[in-house]
């Protein structure tokens, strides 16, 4: 389980998060919603390791993550996507996805330079896995295309495929529905629920609240850095405080 315990964060005088707790279990989709400035992306950045924690702990099972840096958390099985996709433009879709397999690449620098057998094994295994994941998320048509020629939706799905190459236990999605058409959001839902059914714990930070309430098992709502409500989609969507925060202005 991935457990966030009374975590706080401030930037100078600005309080971004104030004693927020949530937990993420394998095989569930946990939605994280809130208006702009509520701290949801900040929280995601803290879980993945981009911002240090000012107070509280983030735990992966028994291990405290607070001092682990971003690559270490990735190697422990926490993958993420970004609000603005971070892809390698000149490389193909397949190469971009294979990057996610770094964790499993056995060959070191010198072994690679001298083309030792481990290099061929890595390439073969990671290429097969990447292809399957890419086809699975829906990018079969674009495997050899340069990443800088991709449409917005394709970029988002590619990032998910890359994240999956980490064989993650948890996947943190940073507003993956941003800029997607309704059909594409449908597809996104299909992919995310498939991941959930395979046992991955998913944190879904999103603005599209309908989408969140539709596919999430549990939802946490934030406002101005504080936890407002936590519970099932039904409970959260009907909570008066949540309604006030979203509709009251």
């Amino acid at each position: 389980m991935l457990k966030v315990d009374a975590v706080s964060k401030h930037f100078g005088g600005l309080i971004a998060l104030s004693e927020v707790s949530l937990d993420l279990r394998p095989g569930e989709i946990h939605g994280l919603i809130g208006p702009n400035g509520s701290g949801k992306t900040t929280l995601l950045n803290m879980i993945s390791g981009y911002y240090p924690v000012d107070a509280g702990t983030i735990r992966l099972d028994d291990h405290v993550l607070n001092d682990d840096r971003v690559p270490e958390r990735a190697l422990r099985g926490i993958a993420r996507t970004f609000q603005k996709p971070r892809l390698l433009g000149p490389l193909s879709v397949l190469d971009n996805a294979m990057l996610g397999g770094w964790r499993d690449a056995q060959a070191g620098f010198l072994a690679t330079a001298f083309l030792l057998p481990s290099v061929w094994r890595d390439e073969r295994e990671l290429r097969v896995r990447a292809r399957e994941l890419l086809i699975g998320v829906g990018l079969a048509h674009a495997l050899d295309r340069s990443a800088n020629l991709l449409e917005h939706a394709e970029q988002r799905f590619l990032e998910i495929a890359r994240g999956l190459m980490l064989r993650p236990r948890f996947l943190l999605l940073d507003e993956p529905a941003g800029g997607l058409t309704p059909t594409e959001i449908e597809h996104l839902g299909t992919v995310i629920t498939t991941l959930r059914d395979a046992g991955i714990g998913i944190l879904l930070v999103e603005h599209h609240t309908d989408f969140v309430f539709r596919i999430c098992n549990r939802v946490t709502a934030l406002d101005l850095g504080r936890l407002v409500r936590h519970g099932t989609p039904e409970e959260v969507r009907n909570d008066p405080e949540v309604i006030r925060v979203y509709l009251g202005g």
């Binding site: 930037f11 981009y50 911002y51 970004f82």
Partner: protein
């Protein structure tokens, strides 16, 4: 011994002035230009050319040196910075300013020659003055004028406030209607003037020498790294400190260790306190 100190202050002053130029350019463009050290170099070379070469009066030579600084830096902004900033690749301005620096360096080497040439006397003064010689005091005076006028500019004038607004948050500044492109061009012109002035003032110390360009780019950078990027106080203190330490290193170990010691200081600071004495730590963006 006193000569060592005075020399250190003087050479430190030119380093400090270069560091100030770095700061002004960085504040509005977030660019550290490789051409920075070439501005004082041009000030010195053209000062010597106008006065000793063309026989023009000293004040005209001064105005000319400043004008060259302004023009060169404006040209740098237009050619190497403006178009490049529009692209997303951060490293491109390093390449473009490096290219411009190489070109101007070579042009000077071809036109002015590769040997350092003497810079004319600016104030009537006997040559055997020792520590009272103007070649030591003019640079110190120049950097004081530069630093002082920058402070006045930022605090008292509207343009100064525009510069500060742009440097703190260019996006917000644009949203408020500030033409950040023009502010940037003006800041490059201002820093070009300061650099030209400083180079002119230091001419008698450094001689008019094309190789000064890259040397000042490096040493001015060491000064700003030690003092802290973004801090004018840091630029002055960093520059003077560097000048003093270089001077003492030369006195103790000989001239062949001058750069080595300076760079040793740089490495030490970068390892221990990379943001410099007065700099601020950067927040990592995602």
């Amino acid at each position: 011994m006193l000569t060592v100190i005075v020399y250190g202050l003087a050479i430190g002053a030119i380093y400090a002035a270069t560091a100030l130029v770095y700061n002004v350019m960085y504040s509005t463009s977030k660019v550290l230009s490789v051409t920075t050290g070439h501005i004082p170099m041009l000030g010195g070379v053209f000062g010597a050319y106008f006065i000793a070469g063309l026989g023009l009066p000293i004040l005209v030579g001064l105005a000319g040196a400043i004008a060259v600084g302004v023009l060169f830096n404006l040209l740098t902004e237009i050619v190497a910075v403006r178009r490049v900033l529009a692209r997303s690749d951060e490293h491109l301005w390093l390449l473009s300013t490096l290219a411009v620096a190489t070109m101007i360096s070579q042009v000077m080497a071809l036109w002015w020659g590769t040997e350092p040439k003497p810079f004319p006397r600016l104030i009537p003064q006997e040559f055997a003055q020792g520590i009272g010689d103007q070649k030591y005091w003019l640079p110190v005076l120049a950097v004081a004028v530069c630093a002082g006028s920058l402070e006045l500019f930022y605090r008292r004038t509207m343009y100064g406030k525009l510069f500060i607004a742009t440097s703190e948050d260019a996006f917000a500044a644009r949203a408020r209607g500030i033409n950040t492109d023009r502010v940037r061009a003006l800041s490059y012109m201002l820093s070009g003037a300061l650099g030209g002035l400083a180079g002119f003032a230091a001419g008698q110390l450094t001689f008019a020498y094309f190789a000064l360009g890259f040397a000042l780019t490096l040493n001015g950078f060491i000064a700003i790294a030690v003092g802290g990027l973004g801090s004018n106080l840091g630029a002055v203190i960093g520059g003077l400190a560097l000048g003093m330490m270089s001077s003492f290193a030369t006195y103790l170990f000989g001239g062949e260790y001058q750069q080595t010691v300076a760079i040793g200081i740089l490495i030490l600071v970068l390892v221990i306190k990379p943001e410099g004495l007065f700099g601020s730590k950067q927040v990592r963006p995602v």
